[in-house]
Amino acid sequence: MVYRTSLKKEQEIFERICKGDEKALEQLYKKYYRMMTKMVITNSGTEDEARDIYQDALIVFWQKSTSGKLFLTSKISTYIYSICQNLWRKELDRKKRLSHEEKDIPVIINTDIKERNRIIGECLDKLDETCRKILMYYYFEEMSMQEIADKLGFANTDTTKTKKYKCKKKLDELVKTLYSERDFLD
């Protein structure tokens, strides 16, 4: 009985996450915080690193769920735990590489990407809230036009499609005014 209730709750929370319910994400985050961070900490990570890895893993889980690419065959915690393990393994490898000869190259690349993200992020901030949400839901959560319409209260998918088109065009223009196309091609 308890097991069934637990499964039902888990299914419920997964469905909410698939629909992009951020409250459900927060609930999940709190629920498994100790379990996931402990894995990193007991594998020579700090508490900050553990939190970082867990948050990244949860975001991967969120993205896969909202985009409809995830079909859970195990418990949510098992899935997130395995993402945490993979991410932490990668981080340990990265640290190991950094302590050797490959120190400089990734730093330069990361700085470039960070700078590009920062500038485009500023352009995104100049858009109105609805535009920002439409673009984020479309590109990050990879929601369908119908899902975006439901979430933002649009009449139909055509409205969403038109709005999305306009928002994206506006963002492109903002970015292009800040940068020449060459900056991105270099």
């Binding site: 985050y29 915080y33 508490e47 975001i59 993200n117 485009i120 990050f140 091609l185």
Partner: protein, 270 residues
Amino acid sequence: MATERDFELLDDYLSNRLSKEESAEVEGKIEADPELKQEFQFQQSVVESVRSKRAAELKMLLNNTPIPFSQTIQAELLSKVAASVVVAGLAVMAYYFYQSNDTAEQVQEYQNEQVMPSPEPSPDQNSTVQSEENIVKDSPSDSPTTKTIEKSSPSSTTNERSEATKNRERELVKVISSTFVTSNTEVITRGESEDYTYHYAFEDKKLVLFGSFEKNQYQILEFITKDEHVFFLNYKSNYYLLDDQINAPAALLPIQDTQLLKKLREFRTK
């Protein structure tokens, strides 16, 4: 030149909305058309940045989510500390329990050594006497009957220890580091008598022990300070302070000062 349809295809490609075949087709087009490739790179940067911004937003959301204390590492550490405290507490309790048992055993042993079981205990004493017999099985079979005075309970035995005795024992702690000599004091054992079952006295600088010492090993420890000679008797696991001024039989009372006992034990095991 890239058409409106090409832009749509690029957008679908970048937002993972194409099938594998469609994606492969788009990739082919991108490679074949430099202008389209340029547009693709621009669009890719924008889409990646939007994703990165959204991920950062979600991360911010999680960072601002308060974690219940029960889920924190501190809670875990606290529970570990609490567990350690409980374990330490139990250990301390066990230690004191052991210590008190040890003291009780010493007193019990002292009692047993004095309270020699009667060869034919009365039925109502069976259980008690049985256990006493087990403890004092080294005692001679012809042990005398028990003396009332020697049946004192551990607490009354403790009470018998005067403040002066306690102080004396405390003082003697420093004596243990004084010069130790192999005692040449002659020891005479007299067995038990009706009045003296576990007593001692000094007669003409000879130590006289009253009781069933013959079958058990005992040891006299003698320490010399500039003022006095201090004698201790070690018998079984107990130590007794012997006053060489005592010339009439006096009861042997086990030392109870833990510091003095510790010193004596350390000394003997050196």
